[in-house]
């Protein structure tokens, strides 16, 4: 009986330690895997390229929106994406862009048809409406 009690206590302590260790481990947040806060801290954005980025060809990406403070997925009312080459002061063709919400996933969108007309550094300006507030996050990317 004593052996059983000791074993139970040991299992309980191990579980407690295990839980404690999980709480102390660095959380896998959008910030830790790359992401950017919007200008007025309305949201946090993570942009994952699924195709590209390419120049003079279409690329695709996934946009994931999170609460700026807690990095929890948040609902987004509208999204617009404008690639901009700041160093040369111009944009690019946008007529092929398609932004579609991912079914069943809060704050997640796919964007196809991103066309970067030339190679070099681009700013991907993502403007979203969240809880009635419009804000913009800028993701820097270099196209080959």
């Amino acid at each position: 009986m004593q052996t059983l009690l000791r074993l139970s206590l040991w299992v309980f302590l191990c579980q407690a330690c295990s839980t404690h260790n999980k709480a102390d481990a660095p959380a896998v947040t959008p910030a830790s895997t790359g992401g950017v806060a919007s200008k007025n801290a309305t949201f946090f954005l993570k942009m994952d390229w699924t195709t590209g980025p390419k120049s003079a060809a279409t690329s695709a990406a996934t946009l994931s929106f999170y609460d700026a403070n807690h990095h929890q997925p948040i609902s987004v009312d509208s999204v617009a994406v404008v690639p901009w080459m700041t160093s040369m002061g111009h944009g690019t063709a946008m007529k092929d862009q398609k932004i579609v919400p991912v079914p069943g996933q809060v704050g997640r969108f796919t964007i196809d048809g991103i066309y970067l007309i030339m190679g070099g550094p681009w700013d991907i300006r993502v403007t979203a409406k969240v809880n009635g507030s419009v804000d913009t996050a800028t993701v820097a990317v270099t196209a080959p």
């Binding site: 120049s55 160093s87 040369m88 002061g89 092929d96 007309i117 190679g119 080959p144």
Partner: protein, 296 residues
């Protein structure tokens, strides 16, 4: 009869000699005024056909990258010049442009420009080491589509200009009295701001420096070569300096002139943009230009 021939030969020789002597450092390089009048010329026309190919983008870090625009850019340039005195002349230039990419092409008139030059110091065969020194002014009116108002940013076929009018002021120095030729020119270029989509864009002040050397093989054959440096300050958008937007372009050129009569010549130029040194926010391209010039 023999006397007449001798006089005619002397006149031809003098005309050819003066034409080869009174060129300038910045003409024929493909980037500045295509048409220059020599002191003995009153009216002159220039018809030139140029093709630029092999485009590569040079990004803000100086790296070559893909250029998604036209693969060929052709330019037919018409220019007319009028001399008011041996020291002063004006020129007007109108380009006609064609952009091509695979099977698709678009054409447009380019940005017209006016330029004037005045010789502060005239060259003299008596003192060949004193250079000709000209001051020059110019203005280019932006009229064509640029990348800022293009309707087709996927191909850029309708992009024919920078989108900004420009005024320039410069000086051109030329040692042209000996068989070996040399010169230097320096222009300051001020682009005028323009509003696109509600944003006021103002390209930075630019300078264009040219170094030229050459050799006169005969009265009818002259070869010049040289290099240009175009340096432009930062772009401003609504007064805000755009990060890393300065431009640099080191280009080279070689020009061959053939005088086929006292009043006619052909000029062939080869050039490469972003050819050497540091280049930034510009494009590499190779150009060939064939021009016919006639004076009256």
């Amino acid at each position: 009869m023999r006397h007449r021939r001798l006089v005619a030969s002397l006149l031809v020789g003098l005309l050819l000699g003066s034409s080869q002597a009174f060129a300038c450092a910045s003409c024929g390089s493909g980037g500045d005024d295509p048409l220059i009048l020599y002191p003995n010329e009153v009216d002159k026309v220039y018809v030139g056909f140029a093709r630029a190919t092999a485009f590569k983008n040079v990004d803000a870090d100086g790296r070559f990258s893909t250029s998604g625009g036209p693969t060929n850019k052709d330019t037919l340039t018409l220019a007319y010049g009028h001399g008011f005195s041996p020291r002063a002349f004006v020129t007007g230039t109108l380009p006609w442009l064609r952009n091509s990419r695979q099977e698709a092409t678009q054409t447009s008139l380019g940005d017209p420009s006016l330029a004037a030059r005045y010789a502060l110091v005239m060259a003299s065969m008596a003192e060949p080491l004193i250079p000709q020194v000209q001051i020059l002014v110019g203005y280019k009116q932006s009229m064509t589509h640029s990348i800022h108002d293009s309707a087709d940013l996927k191909t850029e076929l309708d992009v024919f200009g920078t989108g900004f009018s420009e005024a320039k002021l410069g000086v051109d120095m030329w040692f042209g009295q000996l068989d070996w030729l040399a010169g230097a020119a320096f222009n300051v270029i001020k682009p005028l701001p323009h509003i696109y989509d509600g944003v006021r864009y103002e390209p930075g002040l630019a300078s264009r420096s040219t170094l030229t050397a050459g050799y006169v093989f005969s009265t009818a054959c002259k070869t010049t070569f040289g290099a240009n440096l175009l340096a432009r300050g930062s772009l401003r958008a609504d007064g805000v300096v755009q990060t890393d937007s300065e431009q640099l372009n080191h280009s080279v050129f070689v020009t061959q002139d053939w005088l086929i009569s006292p009043v006619e010549s052909w000029r062939l130029s080869l050039s490469r943009q972003a050819a050497f040194g540091a280049n930034k926010n510009t494009a590499r391209s190779d150009g060939v230009n064939l021009a016919y010039l006639r004076s009256w």
